[in-house]
Symmetry: C2
Subunit: 411 residues, 2 copies
């Protein structure tokens, strides 16, 4: 008999977005005249920047004829893109990253999902709570989670780092030894950030405990405030303990085009069962070249175009557009006395539900009374109970309309 | 200490293509005037079909403006592509496949590499020898291979199915119980095929032994002869025992664009440790939606265009071009008394080295005396020793020149 990977059986239903869709569908059936506004899923809505469109057209034309046609490219990404990343995202901030430390991929979801493969199945995993579900689910599939406890809404062997208003969404260091720490900043779903000082505590912890930080900074482009670190490598010594994930998805509207990259420094070491040192970069390179075949040439040309002078201006305009939406939501909700977080350096607004309503009750209220779809905080973990996520990725018109409707609610 | 996945340490150096590159580079340094022709790596060289180029341009334009912009798409692929696949690749051959059985991806390498994740780490794996290295390496990473034995050039726990001229490259059924069987037809590297009758034996074996066949038919489009099965689902009952992998890479020149798909029938079942039946389709769907975020919309539009009337004509012309190359190589080599296989239903020619030369000796001879780069058969496994792979993916001019050079060799 071909046995399955039984760890999959420990996965909890990916109920969040399907439950949202179900409730939305039912509401629309019962209220066909309702004009629903979705500030739920974290997907962009504006067109791709002109520079990207132009570069992609040019690349498509190159693919039409033998002389300029490109077949298999380097699995780690074309040099033109890797160099642009190094120059603009790192060197410009005083960070020295080498070409063999950058791995271009088709998405941060894939990279943060796949990275755990190169570590031991016995590794102890710490995640923030609330959390992007992929960090947890991929470790469940690998057998690192232990059993799911329905009472606590948590897995037995995963260490949860609580992020609530009570600690200003700044997690405490783990109270027991952990090996892999997923940190996401600017944070999805809370929209909050860490100061350099706070981030340094994590780097120091990882050094002292031989842990590795998996630093997801997919929302880096949305940082507006001066003191917020854009890269974990701004912290001294972080290259010895951290892998960084970046994405073009939200930065440049690439959710439907698929491009991201991961930085695995040559300084980063793991250990084999005999205690010998192994370069994590070598492992990831082997994984990446064995199970992945590179990103579309057309896509990579599009991604490289965002680093051109026009491209930079255009993605700044894109980010400004969404961050203005974030400001409208944040200020609009605060003005009626709601407790709001995030939305300053991230496209997510995390709000405390009024009157300690639970997340799903607030979801139903917002849907039925304001015809707005958002995301219940508890869907991201137990510490998200009583919170709610709205995103800034809608159109200006819909965002303004949504805020107006919420302001008119009786809360 | 963060321990690594120590299974990675069992991987053998991916020496094949790097060793080829090393020897080629050295030869070019020593002989800068030499005009090298590469018939080595299995990559295409012609431009993309016009219908694909047109569809991709149109899709890029759609991505430029909010009204037609597409963000996250369905992880399993857009319906327009899934329906075109079902209609043209299956229904047209009398095979009934449902939309929820098709999973569009960014490459067969990824799919055949990732599929093993959903099965138990204790599963016994059988591969053909010679073999596409990804099947083996990804199982090594998962810990299914056991130790590598330098004397046999094989892993202890993998079952190798020998394919040599001695059995007309038709493997015998395994002599012990196996759970997962990788079959590749038309075969890479040998270029050989299985008849329906032979393929039926494997389906029957899998049924009788509760095994699962992982059927890689990336080269299906190159089949010219009538009786060769295009899909394993042409065999009755195969949906209960087989997963099929297909790719646009070679069919339509997508190696640099990245698109493929995998069919996981709803009839296919695995077992949990208690012996309960689990739908493999559900597991793969969960894996695919958790660790993958869909293929670029632009790419999917390009892929769908190959199913249009113009697209079909254009990819037929593309396949004909390469298969004419194959014929030129096959007949040219046979005419000087070389034993050649494949090249009839596949773009690969597998030749027996003259005078029982070992694969690498023949590589060096071909490089130094004819300035041609090919692939030593032993690089694909021990049963490839004494064989050599040439590909039909070059230009017509280079292919003809290469054959002429080989004809003039003293062998």
């Amino acid at each position: 008999m071909t046995q399955i990977n039984h760890n999959f059986l420990e996965l909890q239903g990916s109920y969040l977005f399907s439950e949202i869709a179900k409730r939305r569908t039912k509401f629309v059936q019962d209220n066909p005249q309702a004009e629903i506004i979705s500030l739920g899923i974290g997907d962009v809505t504006r067109g791709l920047p002109e520079a990207v469109i132009k570069a992609m057209h040019a690349a498509v034309d190159e693919m039409a004829v033998p002389g300029t046609f490109r077949g298999y490219g380097p699995e780690q990404g074309y040099d033109f893109l890797v160099q642009a990343i190094i120059e603009n995202d790192y060197k410009a901030r005083g960070i020295d990253i080498q070409a063999n430390e950058v791995f271009v991929s088709d998405g941060s979801k894939c990279d943060v999902g796949n990275i755990q493969e190169i570590f031991s199945n016995d590794a102890t995993v710490a995640v923030q709570d609330p959390v992007y579900p992929v960090y947890v689910d991929t470790n469940v599939m690998a057998g690192r989670s232990g059993k799911f406890n329905k009472e606590t809404n948590r897995y037995d062997n995963i260490v949860y780092l609580e992020c609530t208003a009570g600690n200003n969404f700044t997690p405490s260091l783990p109270d027991r030894k952990v090996d892999l720490i997923y940190l996401c900043y600017p944070n999805n779903p809370t929209g909050m950030t860490l100061s350099k000082e706070e981030l340094k505590k994590w780097v120091d912890y990882a050094k002292a405990n031989n842990a590795i930080i998996l630093y997801d900074s997919a929302y880096e482009a949305f940082i507006q405030e001066k003191d917020v670190p854009h890269s974990i490598y701004e912290i001294e010594g972080a290259k010895e303990v951290a892998i960084e994930f970046r994405s073009f998805s939200k930065t440049a509207g690439f959710t439907g085009i698929r491009c991201a990259y991961t930085v695995v420094p040559r300084e980063l070491k793991g250990y084999d069962p005999e205690g010998n040192t192994i370069l994590v970069n070598d492992l990831w390179n082997r994984r990446h070249t064995t199970k992945f075949n590179g990103v579309s040439y057309v896509t990579q040309r599009g991604a490289a175009a965002i680093y051109s002078p026009e491209g930079k201006e255009q993605i700044k305009a894109l980010v400004d557009y969404y961050m203005t939406n974030a400001k409208i939501i944040r200020e609009g909700l605060a003005s009626i006395g709601l407790e709001v977080y995030g939305g300053v350096n991230a496209p997510y607004i995390w709000l405390k539900t009024p009157n300690n309503m639970d997340s799903w009750t607030f979801f139903d209220k917002l849907l039925s009374e304001a015809n707005i779809v958002g995301t219940p905080g508890v869907g991201f973990g137990q510490s998200g109970q009583g919170y709610f996520r709205l995103t800034a990725f809608g159109s200006r018109e819909n965002t303004e309309k949504a805020v107006e409707r919420i302001r008119n609610l009786s809360l």
